[in-house]
């Protein structure tokens, strides 16, 4: 691994926010697993335990993460990782020690994207642990298990693209609050587009496919065609975000 990438990876994984978030997520997952399966809660929340619990529980909790919660967690983490470093005059320090801008931002992006993938896997791990604690081997029904793992992988791709988008926002705005603001705007637009009937816009909107996979096809197998189109659009967005980030970084006057 390139020294700068290793350096950034070490730096990122020192963030206490990560450990606090996952401790909270584990607690939430644990309590959800045990609470939703009590008859009182089932009645109160009108939740059919047969759907959201047991083999479906990991998918149910995945939606909880890849929606607003996970994206907001990423934006806070990445603004600390990029905007705050920039504000503290630490972002350009490697450039004073023989690094070039391209390598610097590539290292940041590699660390950020791999972090988003790792976090999705960690979320899957936590949810399977809590589900296993509550329901035991019942959760490993083969079809549901494979379907859920595929959805986790697709969520990983989506979160990586969102991470690239947040990195680009950080580079363009160079301000933590502006980045957070634009991400909130994105989340609102995302909800609007998914619930609207503007088909053309939906087809080219990156967030639409995640909503499609997790809501329209909840606890169901995703049709192959929808899957391919979604992945293709996400890859296109990812490449665009990556290239624009590289271009913008070259132009920054620190």
């Amino acid at each position: 691994m390139y020294p700068l990438t290793r350096f950034y990876a070490r730096k990122l994984y020192r963030q206490k926010l990560i450990y606090i978030f996952f401790a909270c997520f584990f607690t939430a997952s644990f309590f959800y697993a045990f609470l939703i399966s009590t008859p009182q809660m089932e009645e109160m929340l009108n939740i059919n335990i047969g759907i959201v619990g047991r083999k479906n529980f990991p998918e149910f909790m995945m939606r909880f993460y890849v929606g607003t919660v996970g994206i907001l967690f990423h934006v806070f983490l990445l603004t600390l990782f990029i905007c705050e470093e920039d504000r503290n005059k630490m972002l350009y320090q490697p450039l004073l020690h023989g690094e070039n801008r391209n390598r610097m931002i590539r290292s940041k992006i590699y660390v950020a994207v791999s972090m988003s993938m790792v976090f999705v896997l960690l979320v899957a791990f936590i949810n399977y642990i809590t589900a296993f604690m509550r329901w035991g081997y019942e959760i490993f029904e083969q079809a549901a298990f494979i379907r859920t793992i595929i959805k986790y992988l697709l969520s990983g791709i989506y979160m990586s693209v969102i991470t690239l988008g947040i990195v680009l926002l950080c580079i363009c705005t160079r301000n933590a609050w502006k980045t957070i603001f634009f991400v909130i705007i994105y989340l609102l637009i995302d909800q609007f587009i998914y619930s609207s009937n503007i088909a053309l816009l939906q087809k080219i909107w990156v967030g639409y496919y995640l909503n499609l996979w997790t809501f329209a096809y909840e606890y169901q197998k995703i049709p192959f065609s929808e899957l391919i189109i979604g992945i293709f659009i996400m890859i296109l967005y990812g490449i665009a975000f990556f290239q624009i980030s590289l271009y913008r970084t070259k132009k920054i006057d620190f």
Binding site: R6, M90, E99, F254
Partner: protein, 307 residues
Amino acid sequence: MEKIISVKNLKKAYKKETAVENVCFALAPGNIMGLLGTNGAGKTTTLKMITNLCSKDNGKIVIDNVSLDENPGLALSKVGAALDTPSFYQELTARENIECFAHLYENIPNGQVMELLDYVGLKNQAEKKVKKFSLGMKQRLALARAMLGQPKLIILDEPANGLDPQGQINLYRLICDMAKERNTTFIVSSHQLHDMEKFCTDILILDKGKSILQGKTENILSETTNIVDCILEETNAARRVLSGCQGISLVSQKGNQFTIRLENICFDEFVKNLVANHLHIHYLSMRKHSLQDLFLKLTGGAEPCIH
């Protein structure tokens, strides 16, 4: 003569405002150049263009015979810099902070980090977290970080900011020692004009982005107009002699106290002239412009206060 850095026609504009215009200078190994100017004069922008942190609109920068435009990586490998207020990873110790950046170099020998910390007087504080450091300690640590990789040129942007007088003197001594012992070239921007006058071999004064004075410090100070205070007997005769004397001008007269500006005549010749005209000299003293006087005069600040 070997030049460590050569800057030609450097120019930078932000939208319609020109930040730096036609700045040129060159420095030999072991030189210390003081980059002076009022706030917003273009000092930091100049330093950032040299370190490639900021794009330039025009100009050429050559560092140790390597063009910054053609091979920025190689050119900047010869440069160490501490710009803006010293910033570090607050949760890490001084040693860890330097080690973070030492990993970016290929051939940093083990123990060099501690050696650098020792050099800047922070060896005993190596395991202390940076958040507990005073500003002076952070400035020293920034210097240690800038020294990583044994650069031939070190650029320091207002390194004495926030330091007490003792801290300032110690820092400048450290810079002088490095320049002498290691033949390192320094570009130091500062507002500490008295210290700059003492420590810098070269001076460059910027005003509104333009270079308004540059050269060797001793030349700059000696070439500027000298002022002589004298008390002479026989006021009228003295006045007659002085008005007939070539190369001087009378600045002021109060009784038999005269203030004279030596323009095209040296001090010794002036004294000989007075003696040759049989004037009794009660008191004679030559004053020189300090760097601060010059700076204020050139940048259109307050009237120079002559000491």
